[in-house]
Amino acid sequence: MITLNSKIPEGPLEEKWTRYKKEAKLVNPANKKKLDIIVVGTGISGAPAASSLGELGYNVKVFCYQDTPRRAHSVAAQGGINAAKNYKNDGDSVYRLFYDVIKGGDFRAREANVYRIAEVSNQIIDHFTAIGVPFAREYGGTLTTRSFGGVQVSRTFYSSGQTGQQVLLGAYSSLNRQIKAGTVTMFPRREMLDLVVIDGKARGIIVRNLITGEIERHSAHAVVLATGGYGTIYYLSTLAVNSNASAAWKAYKRGAAFANPSFVQIHPSSVPQMNEFQSKLTLMSESLRNDGRVWVPKAKGDKRPANEIPEEERDYYLERRYPAFGNLVPRDVASRAAKERCDAGYGVGPTGLAVNLDFRDAIKKQGKKAIEEKYGNLFEMYKDITGIDSYVEPMRIYPAGHYTMGGLWVDYELMTTITGLFAIGEANFSDHGANRLGASSLMQGAGDGYFILPYTISNYLAPEIKVPRIKTDTPEFQEAEERAVERINRLLSVKGKQTATDFHKRLGKIMWDHCGMTRTEAGLTEALKLIGELREEFWKDLLVPGSADELNQELEKAGRVADFLELGELMVTDALNRRESCGAHFREESQTPDHEALRNDDKFAYVAAWEYNNDQPPVLHREDLKFEFVELKQRSYK
């Protein structure tokens, strides 16, 4: 049985992290190279973690499923990265960034963690700038910023509409520097199949070499998971198609609690689905809502082309419902508002499942060139996909599964409930509560990797210096490898008629319909049944061509879908348990008279951390959230 100890340092909010750093144990430079650390994932938390741990002198082994670390899906983040620099003199501060994130997350995150990420945010921008990330600048040569949803200051640093690419490649360059220095060894095209726990401590991983199919054992004194989120469970999402939950899921099955699995962000602006073959929904950055106005026709079923609908017949519903924040309300609010209009019959486009995002007024006011400079690549991408020129007519957008606030439960040190297993970035649950604000994911990922984990992992490793290199010929490694091989053989031996993709699409639909933007008791109960049936069918009728000892992409997919079929059940269980609405988790039974999320702080101001219990239902552990520094309020963006 696990126990949750969040290990939040005592003292005033502003002093907790300083106090922690002062008291944390250190590892002598000569001892660091005797300590091995495994990092799985090379995105905006994994690459920073690996490179900074390498810089410190640890012996780091890094794994990713892609052919090179530069392709981790953080590369696709578009809009920007937040920091409390207050370069605009508009009233920003560490406290305000902290407060915005706590409020944006609908008061379901830990105060101490959020304050800490706000504290390190400025250093992240300094570091990226120093290593050559070309953030957008003013004519005078200083860095510039823009606004994002859920805030009233301009604190988002960006590189056109491809900030994720620029910061990820910055992190990749640091990683390369350490590979050259010999402190980091890179293992690309490896998929983690299991976690190895010895005497209660995470000591290694089992991976499959995706080229040869070989199963490999790798050991370390500590293991760090930076494996991202699980939004691809919806099949259609804004994520890379190979993004998956398997590493985190394997950790869960080895004893790491999974926190708030039902907290999933549905991003309000993606290119709507066009056909049944579509493999993903492409994101259109939230930054577009700085200048784009969201509207639908005032008349139901108005099928006229957007440009033929006169101003007075347009319903700018976000501006109407939320005059204070207008088009820049947080993502959960914007998504639900779009769904509400479409469900009521006001949607646009061929399917009626879309709303307009219109740049007409911004182009009129600022000129086409200014808009092109800010969002050029997004307009191009939109045109490539849809054939529509958004300089002339509005974009059509619709919500899509995007980011998972839920993830492995971690304490203040970013350690999971398995000693020596850390989770950083999107893979953990820590900072965004029930809804993440735009441009906070790069901030949290990079902050965890560069400026938090290096301190907390050293504190853990200090007593480990007496432990010699971990051997891989132990019974625990043997057992984990056998389990991984057995599972692969099982996937290959079903020899049914439906591919992994067939099952993935069906699971995605169940999740989207019943555990997506809105949820009900009846729908969730139905979903539990449907997922159970689908999982049974999967193990009876799965078709995986080819063999295990070769590059086999169908086998890779099958393993990931098998894990999603289990994770889906946990998400639904969590959503059922939480009989309140908060942030992105919207239970229809719990809403205010004007259809906003209605929290129940008396009963649900806690983190729901689920413990794996073999074939029995998972065990719920509650971490009560204590708000000592902010007042719990009904969130309002009106």
Partner: protein, 244 residues
């Protein structure tokens, strides 16, 4: 749409490959090229035949995973697009499409349309970084950078490392790829302290990985899905001469 696909099939790096022909029905014009291939693979799998291996991931033209010759052109003939963003609108019903992996000595075929591009990583490892250790940076606004130079650096920095420039070049030169990184750092004051060492190290590694020389035909620029400009190569050469 109905298509005839001639696709390169090769079991692994050691075996010989050959073209195989597939008939594919039910292709919709709004599909992307990789969605079309996914449809092919779905069909093949259901028939118990082996799917075609190919790399793809983000489906929005930014991760650089996908890449193949489409009728002889890297990422196809439409300018400024990766394979994943190339729409089937650009093809006609009944058309035959020839699909091959990158052909370049430094990119050995792994399987079917997948090649090993780790040679590109090795060049980056040799010098594609600025040596600032985490925590050592001054305030981001301590060094001013002109907007013009910063924008130019960004234009070079958008390279996705897909390898199309190498595949397009008759010499299999990686000069556009290397010059993009060199230019990004050469244009920024942050990159100047190590400029000499960087350009020499990256060029030396490029040569070691057996990429060919640049003969200035401009095929790389024409096929680059991110439209990285040829003048980056001029800047690379200048940086290289200046380093001696």
């Amino acid at each position: 749409m109905k298509l005839k696909l001639k696709i390169w099939k090769q079991k692994n790096a050691k075996s010989d490959g050959a073209f195989e022909t597939y008939d594919l029905d039910g292709v919709a014009p709004e599909m992307s090229f990789v969605e079309m291939l996914a449809l092919l693979n779905q069909t093949l799998a259901q028939q118990g035949r082996e799917p075609v291996a190919f790399d793809h991931d983000c489906h929005e033209g930014i991760c650089g995973s996908c890449g193949m010759y489409i009728n002889g052109y890297p990422h196809g003939l439409v300018k400024g697009l990766t394979t994943c963003l190339l729409s089937m609108r650009h093809f006609k019903d009944g058309e035959t499409i020839v699909i091959e992996p990158w052909r370049a000595k430094p990119f050995p075929v792994v399987k079917d349309l997948i090649v090993d591009r780790s040679a590109l990583d090795k060049i980056q490892v040799a010098g594609g970084f600025i040596s600032v250790t985490t925590g050592a940076a001054a305030d981001a606004n301590a060094v001013l950078v002109s907007k013009k130079k910063s924008d130019l650096a960004f234009d070079s920095a958008v390279c996705i490392g897909c390898g199309a420039c190498v595949a397009a070049c008759k010499n299999a030169s990686a000069m556009l790829f290397v010059s993009a990184k060199i230019s990004q750092y050469a244009l920024l004051p942050q990159g100047r302290p190590e400029a000499k060492e960087r350009v020499r190290a990256m060029i030396a590694e490029m040569d070691k990985q057996a990429f060919g020389s640049c003969s200035n035909t401009g095929a790389c620029e024409a096929q680059c899905p991110k439209q990285i400009k040829l003048f980056n190569i001029a800047r690379l050469n200048r940086e290289y001469y200046k380093s001696y």
